[in-house]
């Protein structure tokens, strides 16, 4: 199976967030970036499918130069090669625009399977994979925890709300958006990191792949959330705060 995994690089979860002067995005200088979490699970699923059935795993990311580190991490974990769509203007493209870039990069490869993460941790759109499926005119299934190859195509386990699941069968080629938690993630080995250096990364220029089209959903401004409920913060040393909380639990919440 030839599998393409779309991987996004996102700001580190614990990174301190500052709004940039223009008020449309965050200040990126000094930020740490890492692989979007569901994408790491998508990569894991792809590597397992390859181990079981043979084939090739290609990782694909659109973004500025820095995303190269995330692609190298994926290569070190076992992906065979990488495609980097270089773009400094992703913020000017909406989800459809980004999906167009990815679909143009994918088309000449004619993969059997395309995996994306369910949702990015920064924009949280949860759409790019589904849009990709439509642009490539392929069937898709979203919120997938497990993929099994069958004679006719694929059988996948889909997460529903409130602890429910469902199995779906679909033919290949197909697009799946992968939810976190389906597998245990592997670490890159020393050997893997060494090997990654010899693996191919193809660089494609975004502007040549697909010109920027005016977005249909325009981000006007970003802000810190407006406070709704007033939390009573219990101050002091850990010991003082703990004592104050015990008082509250005793006399106001009445659970002690």
């Amino acid at each position: 199976m030839k599998i393409i995994v779309a991987i996004k690089q996102v700001p580190d979860r614990d990174a301190p967030i500052r709004i940039a002067a223009a008020g449309k995005w965050i200040e990126e200088s000094g930020l740490q970036f890492s692989m979007n979490e569901p994408d790491a699970y998508a990569l894991e699923e792809a590597l397992r499918l390859k181990e079981a059935h043979g084939g090739e795993v290609i990782v694909l990311s659109a973004g500025p130069e820095r995303v190269g580190t995330t692609l190298r991490e994926a290569l070190a974990k076992g992906a065979d090669r990488a495609i980097h769509v270089t773009a400094d203007d992703l913020g000017e493209r909406d989800a459809l625009g980004v999906a167009r870039l990815l679909s143009e990069a994918i088309k000449p490869e004619s993969p059997d399977l395309i995996l994306t993460g369910l949702q990015s941790e920064d924009l949280g759109l949860g759409q790019t994979g589904v849009i990709l499926a439509e642009l490539l005119n392929l069937p898709h299934a979203s919120l997938i925890l497990h993929v099994e190859k069958t004679d006719a195509g694929l059988k996948v386990k889909r997460e529903l709300e409130s602890g429910w699941f469902q199995e779906i069968e679909l033919p290949t080629p197909a697009v799946l958006t992968i939810q976190s938690g389906g597998n245990k993630l592997r670490y890159a080995t020393l050997m893997g990191i060494k090997r990654a250096k010899t693996k191919e990364t193809r660089v494609l220029n975004a502007a040549e792949l697909a010109p920027v089209a005016p977005p249909t959903a325009v981000l006007e401004k970003i802000a810190l959330p407006t406070k709704q409920r007033s939390t009573q913060i219990l101050p002091g040393t850990p010991k003082e705060a703990a004592a104050a909380l015990v008082e509250k639990l005793r006399f106001e919440v009445r659970v002690l």
Partner: protein, 322 residues
């Protein structure tokens, strides 16, 4: 382009509050734009979700019916709504942000050259649509900039399920043209995993642990706190994803919904998928080192600090008080 189309869905769990929340969002949009709101859903007009269509909801509703729409498929639903939208030409299409909607609405919007403005938490004059970024650490205002229909989906719990009164609803059926060959996926029946051995839903006290705990080896810290309180232990998703605690202890949209007397969140950031599972708790206490963590939005009491210092101190203080 003279109407707002509010699309509703029959729910597996019979929770109809989201129905009215989506309708409330449609009404706000209706007030801001002066356009009438109409309803649509897939299914038999005499069943399930349509029971709520009667009475004071909207003047016009469409029941979309076709034998190939009995089970949900993204291909079937996309085709059906595409045809209804081409016929009605609404200016706005409003969905509830459910797992089902996330599965097909981006595909549907793409057919119209649009993107879905998803998981909207507020609508203001403009109209401007608010949605969260960075797991709730920021919020953003989006504007629709196109002649085509504007697709939005509404976050659960963000709009007040109001009950406007008066009027009757006329339901007309709409039969899309769908060919079996156009449906490429074969869905199986929904099932639940394994047997539940813990009943978090009826636990009066819950201590819930998140990724702030860093590694499985640190879990005894919160287990001791739970024990001192006499509370059940629960967790956010990453803890269960990592296999540190069984999935049946997961609280949130894909786990359990709980409403205890006390919910003590330790090292949990408060992403919306977690909040929907616990914000009905009577008292919420959060321990987090980040004063801007979204969990403090819903907490009654908070301690800003390192859980590795605060939790042992709290366990001690509770033991001493008992």
């Amino acid at each position: 382009m003279s109407r707002i189309l509010v699309i509703e869905e029959a729910r597996i769990d019979g929770n109809h509050r989201f129905f009215h929340e989506t309708l409330a969002a449609g009404r706000i949009l209706s007030e801001l734009t002066g356009l009438p709101a109409e309803l649509a859903a897939i299914g038999d007009p005499n069943e399930n979700v349509f029971m709520h269509f009667s009475g004071p909801v909207a003047a016009t509703a469409y029941a979309i019916q076709h034998p190939l729409l009995v089970s949900y498929t993204s291909d079937g639903y996309t085709l059906a709504f595409e045809q209804l939208i081409r016929k009605l030409q609404p200016a706005y299409v409003v969905f509830p942000h459910t797992y089902q909607v996330r599965d097909f609405a981006p595909r549907l919007a793409t057919r119209f050259g649009q993107v879905l403005i998803g998981d909207v938490t507020a609508i203001e004059a403009g109209p401007l649509f608010t949605r969260q970024l960075l797991q709730g650490k920021l919020q953003a205002n989006y504007r629709h900039a196109s002649d085509g229909p504007c697709f939005i989906s509404i976050q659960a719990g963000a709009f007040r399920a109001d009950s406007a009164s008066g009027g009757t609803t006329s339901i007309s059926t709409f039969e899309p043209e769908i060919d079996a060959a156009q449906i490429r996926t074969r869905p199986g029946a929904p099932f639940r995993a394994g047997t539940q051995t813990v009943d978090l839903a009826s636990a009066p006290l819950i201590v819930s642990v998140g990724r702030g705990i860093k590694e499985a080896a640190n879990l005894p810290l919160v287990e001791e706190l739970a024990q001192a309180l006499g509370a059940e232990l629960a967790a956010s998703r990453p803890i269960c994803d990592n296999g540190w605690l069984p999935m049946e202890r997961q609280v949130g949209s894909s786990g359990q919904t709980v409403a205890p007397k006390l919910y003590l969140a330790v090292g949990i950031s408060g992403a919306i998928q977690h909040l929907v599972g616990m914000k009905g708790s009577q008292c919420i206490v959060a321990i987090n080192k980040d004063p801007d963590a979204p969990i403090f939005e819903v907490a009654d009491y908070g301690i800003v600090g390192d859980l590795f210092e605060v939790v042992p101190a709290l366990t001690e203080a509770i033991k001493a008080a008992k």
